[in-house]
């Protein structure tokens, strides 16, 4: 259970003179829910893009699911799932077509897709909407569907980039229920968020300031070491030190 699926060691990315990500180091265990916090412009997105194999680091080491971020980006891409803040489903495709398409991209066979999507739709309560266009679904359902699609091919790690934007608190709570279930199935969840109540749900949380990781601990540990009553206070204390302006 203590196997690391994400490791980063002095990972750095600079664009010209600007160091977006500055020597970050951490490990994430299998099945862990890892909160990746930071103000806008702190370097979260750049770091996440390096982990997803979209950009190459300038220096340092990192491996994702046991694959090297310099040499094995293709293998990384096959072993991760990704969900963005815009949910990234096709509005003009039906629920089933979206599932078929994304699962097909990851090379799943038609049979496997069929066998897996029936229970999934049942679990999501979307059986009746199977052939409805995704554009007609309420936001909360789209979000749950989007997450289900992101982990449909059973990735080792799923990256969630501000997955709960614009969704009401009740739906958010339900969404986190799904995240816990994924974590129980040993899928590692790497999540960025701006909602501090969500940070409390994570197993461990890191806070990035100006490209560096300023703090990393369990939510309880962070509150204790910063003498704060909530994650919100912890975040504000750390983020105030930032010299960079957010975008």
């Amino acid at each position: 259970m203590n196997e690391y699926v994400i490791t980063a060691e002095n990972l750095t990315k600079s664009f010209g003179d600007f160091t977006a990500v500055d020597r970050i180091s951490f490990e994430v265990r299998r099945g862990e829910i890892f909160g990746f916090l930071g103000a806008n412009g702190a370097g979260k997105t750049t770091a996440m893009r390096m982990f997803c194999g979209l950009i190459l680091p300038s220096s340092g080491k990192a491996s994702i699911g046991g694959f090297d971020v310099y040499r094995e980006t293709e293998a990384i891409k096959r072993n991760i799932g990704y969900m963005s803040q815009r949910f990234s489903l096709y509005d003009d495709l039906t629920v089933q077509e979206n599932i078929n398409f994304y699962a097909g991209i990851y090379g799943m066979s038609r049979k496997a897709i069929r066998e897996k999507s029936a229970p999934l739709l049942k679990q999501l309560g979307l059986e009746a909407e199977r052939n409805a266009l995704v554009g007609s679904l309420p936001l909360g359902w789209k979000q749950k569907l989007s997450f289900s699609v992101a982990i449909f091919h059973e990735p080792k790690i799923v990256f969630l980039d501000e997955p709960t934007g614009g969704v009401d608190p009740i739906t958010r709570r339900e969404f986190w229920q799904m995240i816990y279930e994924a974590s129980d199935r040993d899928i590692t969840v790497f999540v960025t968020t701006h909602y501090m109540d969500e940070a409390e749900y994570c197993h461990r949380v890191s806070v990035m300031v100006d490209g560096r990781i300023e703090a990393l601990d369990t939510p309880g540990g962070l509150k204790k070491s910063h003498g704060a009553a909530s994650m919100n206070e912890v975040f504000l204390q750390l983020a105030r030190k930032a010299k960079r302006k957010g975008d």
Binding site: C52, G53, S84, S88, D92, L93, E97, I105, G107
Partner: protein, 368 residues
């Protein structure tokens, strides 16, 4: 490969689900061909003309009758004097006038030469020119007929032949033009839009994070529009041949291959636009203003390039449609082969490589 087909299937769903756009993409070429073919023709038929006949004899009446009998003119009125004729011009009742002087037949029979005045409404200079040319031809024909039997030495009688398009039909000109326009619009604009849409919706992010290679994403986007273009080329050609009676004199295979080449150039332009823009509105604007307008104006299809100022003539060389237009016109209307149009073909090939290279470079740059 399975992954790729999965992708193409999805692109087709996008296209078929957007019925309105699909209808426009398929219907537009046909409507354009028919509109250009029947309504917007620059041929002149049955122009109404008025005349003043001061000669009043057999020869002058024969002239009027021949004019009336030609396809181009239709006798509308006879006037007593110029004021009356001027009035008719002003009211737009006639667009062409003929004044036959009183010594018309007299001097024709005595000296073998005579005069007649042609008056054209030059508020539209092109039509006025055309009418004067038609009238001159009719008059010359008649004079030639009338002077037979007269002993006139050294008469040079020009005999004009309009090669490849003897009836001077406009359709010969615009069928290649519409083909260029339609292919450019479908391929450039639609390809740019469909890729930029993925960027706008955030789905591109997910695709890039997935194991699918970017080159596959882009190719899969292009394939449906390539097929759609094939359909459009076929429908345009069928309509041209069977409805507008424009012949295809050259090789059909060559015509299709050249069309595919131009389609690929348009597709790569679309890719280039899509990698340079972030919103559908911007992509649409660049496609329309940056591609469509130059195609209409500088390809030689609407306005002859030889008549343009030198800088515009030079710029026109950068418009891919110009070369495609030349090729299609040569192959379709003149029946020439690759031996004649190889130069234009090479230019299009070079453009294809250049745009494709730029597009791929830009796409990679964005990823790095």
């Amino acid at each position: 490969m399975k992954q790729f087909i999965n992708f193409i299937k999805k692109e087709f769903i996008h296209i078929f689900r957007d019925r309105r756009t699909l209808f426009i993409l398929i219907g537009m070429p046909m409507v354009q061909i028919l509109i250009f073919g029947f309504a917007l023709t620059n041929e002149v038929k049955n122009s109404r003309f008025g005349y003043i006949d001061l000669s009043h004899d057999e020869l002058s009446q024969r002239l009027v009758a021949e004019m009336d009998a030609s396809n181009y003119f239709e006798a509308a009125a006879e006037f007593a004097d110029r004021d009356e004729m001027e009035g008719a011009f002003r009211k737009g009742r006639i667009s062409f006038g003929l004044v036959i002087p009183d010594d018309f037949s007299g001097s024709f029979h005595s000296t073998g030469g005579t005069k007649v005045q042609l008056i054209a409404d030059a508020s539209d200079p092109n039509i006025a020119n055309t009418l004067v040319n038609y009238a001159t031809a009719v008059i010359q024909d008649m004079a030639a007929g009338a002077s037979q039997g007269l002993q006139i030495p050294y008469v040079i009688r020009p005999e004009t032949r309009m090669l490849y398009n003897p009836q001077l039909q406009g359709a010969y000109n615009f069928v290649p033009g519409v083909m260029a326009m339609v292919l450019l619009l479908v391929c450039t604009m639609m390809t740019a839009l469909t890729i930029v849409r993925e960027k706008e919706n955030g789905t591109m992010e997910v695709l890039l994070v997935s194991p699918v290679k970017p080159i596959k994403i882009i190719t899969a986007k292009a394939v449906p529009y390539l097929l759609l273009s094939f359909f459009n080329i076929t429908s345009i050609l069928l309509l041209s041949v069977f409805v507008l009676n424009v012949p295809i004199r050259g090789s059909l295979v060559l015509l299709f291959s050249e069309s595919v080449l131009f389609t690929l150039v348009s597709l790569s332009l679309g890719l280039l636009i899509s990698s340079a823009t972030a919103s559908q509105t911007a992509a649409m604007f660049i496609s329309l203003v940056g591609m469509f307008l130059p195609t209409v104006m500088l390809s030689g299809f609407m306005f002859p390039i030889e008549n343009m100022p030198l800088p515009l003539q030079i710029i026109s060389n950068l418009v891919p449609a110009k070369w495609f237009y030349i090729i299609v016109r040569s192959v379709m209307i003149k029946g020439t082969g690759l031996a004649i149009v190889w130069k234009e073909t090479l230019i299009l090939l070079a453009m294809l490589l250049f745009f494709m290279g730029m597009a791929i470079k830009k796409f990679k740059l964005r990823l790095a």
